[in-house]
């Protein structure tokens, strides 16, 4: 176990800057998620930590040891790849034993370790199969076992769930989180899926265009977004942003409700809402429309939980809606950064 510390990590690919000087400390034992859209540099950053890619400049420490210039194998990290990167020509047993063999672990120690790792992931019965005989979920466990078996200082996971089907992904998510909690190894997890990030991360690092836009716990990121990018990247549907008094005012659709729903009417901001379209999604309704007195440039959304189903909202009609003042966030119009108040 170790902490990972990056100082001013920069990466250039020719003329393109993939990372603009990243500063970050991943704490010991933490489950840290790098979240961002594709092309934001999260995978590049992970590969630099791993040593598969070299940084153009900057410093990097794993467990207080400088690792820039060291090849991946000398960094004490283990990685699970998006397509798992299993060795197709080796049996599961030999796949898991591979890192031990290259480290020169004595033969008699290898077998018990392989069986321990396989047992931990519940794949003890698959040891004599070849990877191509396994299902996606089983392959993912083999990849995890292989990463785990040599007890690395840091786990690096690059979208390890993206090749699983939707149902399996949910259960694999829970297992992975549970598993990490149990072994307590520092883990860095890259994903573009906000549900995975929110559900698994102790902390989330939101990245965009090669920059870190916010670091925080899932709650912090969701409730107190530091800028409009984070505000709109997280949440389905994303945060509404409208212009108000020279600022951008943001509020989440689930906080923008019909006035009749509120019990306590103090500290509310009233707005009339003209409904344009209603989407019925089973557990909730998403209502699209426009705010009165605000130019028709942006549609806003309201997410109504199903238990307020008695509300009959018709398209084209105007209704009294409201937002709690504490749920309003303000952002600078030009920079998109969070500001105190409008």
């Amino acid at each position: 176990m170790a902490q990972v510390e990056a100082k001013q990590i920069k990466k250039q690919f020719g003329d393109v800057t993939a990372l603009h000087g990243i500063d970050l400390t991943v704490k010991e034992g933490e489950f840290c998620v790098f979240l961002g859209p594709s092309g934001c540099g999260k995978t590049t950053f992970l590969r630099i930590i791993c040593g598969l890619e070299s940084a153009s400049s900057g410093e990097l420490y794993i467990g207080d040891k400088p690792v820039i210039g060291l090849p991946p194998r000398a960094r004490g990290v283990a990685m699970v790849f998006q397509t798992y990167g299993l060795y197709p020509h080796l049996k599961v047993r030999d796949n898991i034993a591979f890192p031990l063999k290259t480290q020169g672990t004595p033969k008699d120690e290898i077998k018990p370790k392989v069986e321990w790792a396989a047992g931990l992931l519940g794949i003890g019965h698959l040891l004599d199969r070849k990877p191509r005989q396994l299902s996606g979920g089983e392959r993912q466990r083999v990849a995890l076992a292989r990463a785990l078996v040599r007890e690395p200082a840091v786990f690096l996971l690059d979208e390890p769930l993206s090749n699983l089907d939707a149902k399996l992904r949910t259960s694999a998510r829970n297992e992975l989180k549970e598993f990490q909690r149990r072994i307590g190894t520092t883990t860095i997890y890259v994903t573009h899926d906000q549900v995975e990030a929110m559900g698994m991360g102790d902390r989330i690092v939101v990245m965009e265009h090669g920059r870190v836009r916010q670091v925080g716990t899932p709650t912090e990121i969701y409730d107190e977004p530091a800028n409009t990018f984070v505000a709109t990247f997280l949440g389905t549907p994303p945060m509404n942003l409208v212009e108000s008094n020279g600022h951008l005012m943001g509020f989440r659709p689930e906080n923008f409700l019909h006035k009749s729903i509120y019990e306590n009417l103090t500290d509310l901001m009233d707005i009339n809402f003209r409904v344009a379209r209603v989407e019925y999604l089973g557990s909730e309704r998403v209502v699209y429309g426009f705010l009165e007195g605000i130019p028709h440039e942006g549609e806003v959304m309201s997410k109504l939980p199903v238990h307020v189903g008695h509300l009959d909202l018709r398209e084209g009609e105007q209704y009294p809606f409201a937002i709690k003042r504490q749920d309003l966030k303000y952002f600078d119009k030009s920079t998109g950064e969070r500001t105190a108040k409008g």
Partner: protein, 314 residues
């Protein structure tokens, strides 16, 4: 929990790698190391001999005169004033063009027929591919026997099918035009299976969706062929076609074993003439000049091939 205690005793990261190991990790060092044997081989046995050949062709070197006296373009001027060479040059083009046109046409026909499903298809494909798969030198011997002046099985068959008169007995390899036709037949025979396999690969590489979409869109036979099939398989066919052309253009085994360039030098190709002049007669410098006449054409072929290979990347 027991597992936790195991992991807290995690092994320390391996020690910093040695300088030697560092080199084994560095692609900047490994790439040249990995390429060196192949590159050295090609430089020594392809590039250097090519340059040497150019040098021969500009000198007066032969087995009687071992001086490498520089004579400029004299050897080239000599050969271009020689009727045998001019006919040889013409032959080389005639053989190459005729054999490739016939080979590709038959190849395309074969490929279309092999797209059908029928029993024994694997065996039929094997029989079809035989001419391309066997050593051309040995196959040419069989053709020489089939074209034999006295016992030609081809003549026997033509006679009994009443395609030629009962008293005609063509001397395939002994008569100038027939000898040329014979060479073309053998080349086309060798090439068409290659063409068939390439066309087949091209046709089966067209995604079924595309063909379906095009049928749904109401495209007829011609539109389907000329707007979909041909454009889509062109790169593959072009690459394979260029290979076929280069192989025929530069070959000498067929001519050497079938006619030895005869009768009276009428069927020589550049390769066989260069062999006769440069090796058999020992006039190395003229031989080199004759074979180097191939070079500009190979260069054109290489440039075209390069373009098609590049286009394929896109």
């Amino acid at each position: 929990m027991e597992t936790t205690t195991t992991t807290t005793t995690a092994a320390a990261p391996p020690a910093k790698p040695s300088r030697f190991q560092y080199m084994l990790d560095n692609p900047g060092f490994l790439a040249p190391l990995f390429m060196a044997p192949a590159v050295v081989y090609i430089v020594l046995l392809v590039a250097f001999p090519t340059v040497l050949s150019v040098y021969y062709s500009l000198s007066a070197y032969n087995i009687y005169n071992l001086s490498f006296k520089f004579v400029g373009l004299k050897n080239y001027i000599d050969i271009f004033q020689d009727d045998v060479f001019l006919q040889t040059l013409g032959n080389t083009f005639i053989f190459t063009i005729a054999a490739n046109v016939i080979g590709l046409a038959l190849g395309k026909a074969t490929a279309l027929l092999l797209l059908r499903d029928f029993r024994g298809k694997v065996f039929v494909r094997f029989l079809i591919i035989l001419p391309w798969a066997v050593p051309i030198a040995l196959a040419t011997l069989a053709w020489r026997w089939m074209f034999d002046s006295l016992y030609s099985v081809i003549n026997w068959s033509l006679q009994h099918a009443h395609l030629i008169g009962p008293n005609t007995w063509p001397n395939w390899l002994g008569e100038e035009h027939l000898a040329m036709i014979s060479v073309i037949i053998v080349h086309a025979w060798r090439l068409f299976p290659f063409g068939a396999v390439i066309f087949l690969a091209g046709l089966t590489s067209i995604p079924k969706d595309v063909m379906d979409a095009c049928v749904v869109d109401g495209a007829g036979f011609w539109r389907k062929n000329f707007q979909i099939v041909i454009p889509m398989i062109t790169p593959i066919i072009a690459i394979a076609g260029l290979f076929g052309i280069v192989f025929t253009f530069t070959d000498m085994s067929v001519v050497y074993l079938l006619t030895k360039g005869g009768p009276t030098n009428s069927t020589h190709v550049l390769g066989s003439l260069a062999f006769q002049v440069g090796i058999l007669s020992g006039d190395v410098s003229h031989g080199a000049a004759i074979s180097l006449v191939m070079f500009p054409f190979l260069l054109v072929a290489s440039i075209l091939l390069l373009r098609f290979l590049r286009r394929r990347e896109v």
